[in-house]
């Protein structure tokens, strides 16, 4: 059974349909990516899964219906979204941001262990734990946003354009981290404009165009698909 199943998800802003009733599955332990052009509805899909922006349709996490719940309750059930533009709390310290990631948890010992692991994984954040998050560089903020999401021990991690606006070296680092997280067994749904990268790290992929899913399959298959190559891989 899928960990996440989405059926007929629709998201609209005013009269504009950003997501037009899509179906999507993510199995336990998988890294699935959602690629597509700017404005195809990728970010709106992730928001809709999290219950933001008044979505319609069904979202199930291991069979449990999430689509009737408010966002904070969805988060507490183990879905974490690293939003586009990272969304770190700029006037909170790095350490406080990480604490916020574990907000829904009550197991102090587990939180402490995960905090130690986060600092292990991102030594840069350990150095800057007392610094306000707003003073970090873009790449560091992205790492903080990912580390913060992991602090919630999510069953499914949603990443929205983690490479956006970052220098190539930083992009590589972020993607090394994503691969590592996936290797540890965290289930991931990745939204990315950079189709090259996304298809390289993921096992399966969906292609989104104007609010609809137009192609899906294994990432290797899609990377070889002439349409995908022409439209998203620039060949």
């Amino acid at each position: 059974m899928s960990l996440l199943s989405v059926h007929g998800l629709k998201v609209a802003y005013g009269g504009i349909q950003a997501v037009r009733g899509i179906d999507l599955e993510v199995a336990e332990g998988e890294l699935v990516c959602l690629i597509g052009a700017n404005g195809a509805g990728k970010s709106s899909t992730l928001k809709g899964i999290m219950g933001l922006a008044h979505p319609r349709g069904e979202v199930l996490l291991a069979g449990e219906r999430l689509h009737k719940l408010p966002t904070h309750a969805i988060a507490a059930r183990g879905l974490a979204l690293v939003p586009e533009g990272r969304g770190v709390f700029g006037r909170l310290t790095v350490a406080e941001n990480l604490d916020m990631g574990a907000y829904a948890r009550r197991d102090r010992a587990g939180i402490q262990a995960d905090l130690a692991r986060a600092y292990d994984l991102f030594p840069r954040l350990a150095e800057r734990r007392a610094q306000l998050a707003g003073t970090l560089s873009g790449g560091e903020q992205q790492m903080l946003a990912i580390a913060r999401a992991l602090m919630g021990r999510p069953r499914l991690l949603l990443l929205d354009e983690p490479s956006m606006g970052l220098a190539p070296l930083m992009v590589r680092k972020i993607y090394e981290t994503i691969t590592m997280i996936a290797a540890e067994g965290v289930t991931l749904l990745l939204v990315e404009q950079n189709a090259h990268l996304a298809l390289k790290v993921s096992q399966r992929a969906y292609v989104m165009e104007s609010g609809e899913i137009t192609l899906s399959g294994s990432s290797a298959e899609l990377a070889a698909n002439p349409r995908v190559r022409a439209a998203y891989l620039g060949e």
């Binding site: 999290m50 933001l52 408010p70 966002t71 904070h72 309750a73 988060a75 507490a76 974490a80 979204l81 939003p83 969304g87 770190v88 709390f89 700029g90 006037r91 909170l92 406080e96 604490d99 916020m100 990631g101 907000y103 829904a104 998050a133 707003g134 913060r148 919630g152």
Partner: protein, 309 residues
């Protein structure tokens, strides 16, 4: 007697009350960008409820120790104001959370008028006097007088401020409040029930307002259904002076405004050759408000309003 020292003391006492009320304005503004004009009236209700309790207790047994009676009044006024603020937010502001900003602002003014009129119906148009039951010792420092009540007001204010500071900086709820103030959406994504955090913000501000209301009525010896209006405006000015949305700013702004007002009242007669008397003291709060808005709209400790991380 040294006028300067005396007015400085008077100003700090008054200023600590302004600071407490200003905290309520600034906390709500920090989270909702709403100027809760009903907050002054919540302070007034706190004073009125406490005075009613004090009246009942004294009526039942006039020999009760005065300090205990006042504390009992305060202990009823605090939860009463908390419940009131919880209701105001839920009924008047929450349905307008996504409305254009003018709508909740006008609603706040409406709530303020409703509360004034309800208070007038319940407690009457007359001044309600605060019975003289508190210890009235007087001390001399640096050639000026300070009363037990003044000392108590300053100490209780500082304790309330310290308590609030600890709550906001050191607790899980405080962290959630600060996160919510920066981004409601991301706070929700962290599992924060933003509606509940907003309720808590109103409730905490109201508890502090109740303390301020009881203190201000004890200080002036009276309460009145209209007292929340001027007090609210001054506390709002204090919050703007410190930088609205900034908690330390509200504390600083309140104390500073109290001192400016007291010194202004003390010297305005000399400065204008007797043309204007000390009853013009209210002018100073609004003069300060205008000057701040013209020269430093973000306030003394405020940050640039535009940034939203």
């Amino acid at each position: 007697m040294d006028i300067f020292t005396q007015q400085l003391i008077n100003g700090l006492v008054l200023g600590s009350i302004y600071a407490l009320v200003a905290l309520g304005y600034t906390m709500v503004y920090g989270i909702l960008e709403l100027i809760n004009f009903a907050h002054g009236e919540v302070t007034m209700i706190g004073a009125m409820v406490a005075l009613s309790v004090i009246g009942v207790l004294l009526g039942a047994s006039p020999d009760l120790p005065g300090l205990m009676v006042v504390i009992a009044g305060l202990l009823v006024a605090i939860p009463a104001c908390m419940a009131l603020a919880f209701g105001i937010e839920k009924i008047a502001y929450r349905p307008l959370r996504k409305a254009p900003r003018l709508a909740p602002l006008i609603t706040a003014i409406g709530v303020s008028i409703i509360l004034q009129n309800v208070a007038m119906l319940v407690w009457g148009r007359q001044y309600v006097s605060f019975p003289a039951i508190l210890p009235r010792g007087q001390h001399e420092i640096l050639g000026a007088h300070i009363t037990d009540l003044q000392i108590a007001i300053v100490v209780l204010s500082l304790l309330s401020m310290a308590g609030l500071w600890l709550l906001v900086e050191k607790t899980r709820l405080g962290r959630a409040m600060r996160a919510t103030a920066q981004s409601k959406e991301v706070a929700e994504l962290m599992g924060v029930n933003v509606d509940r955090v907003i309720s808590y913000t109103f409730i905490i501000g109201a508890a502090i307002a109740a303390i301020a209301g009881v203190m201000v009525s004890a200080y002036y010896g009276l309460a009145h259904y209209y007292m929340g209006f001027m007090l609210g405006l001054k506390a709002f000015s204090a919050a703007v002076l410190g930088g609205i949305g900034n908690i330390a700013g509200a504390m600083l702004g309140g104390l500073l405004l109290g001192v400016i007002e007291a010194l202004g009242a003390g010297y305005i007669g000399d400065l204008t050759g007797g043309f204007l008397g000390s009853h013009y003291q209210d002018v100073f709060a609004f003069l300060v408000l205008i000057l701040v808005l013209v020269f430093r709209p973000s306030g003394l400790l405020g940050e640039r309003v535009a940034s939203r991380a």
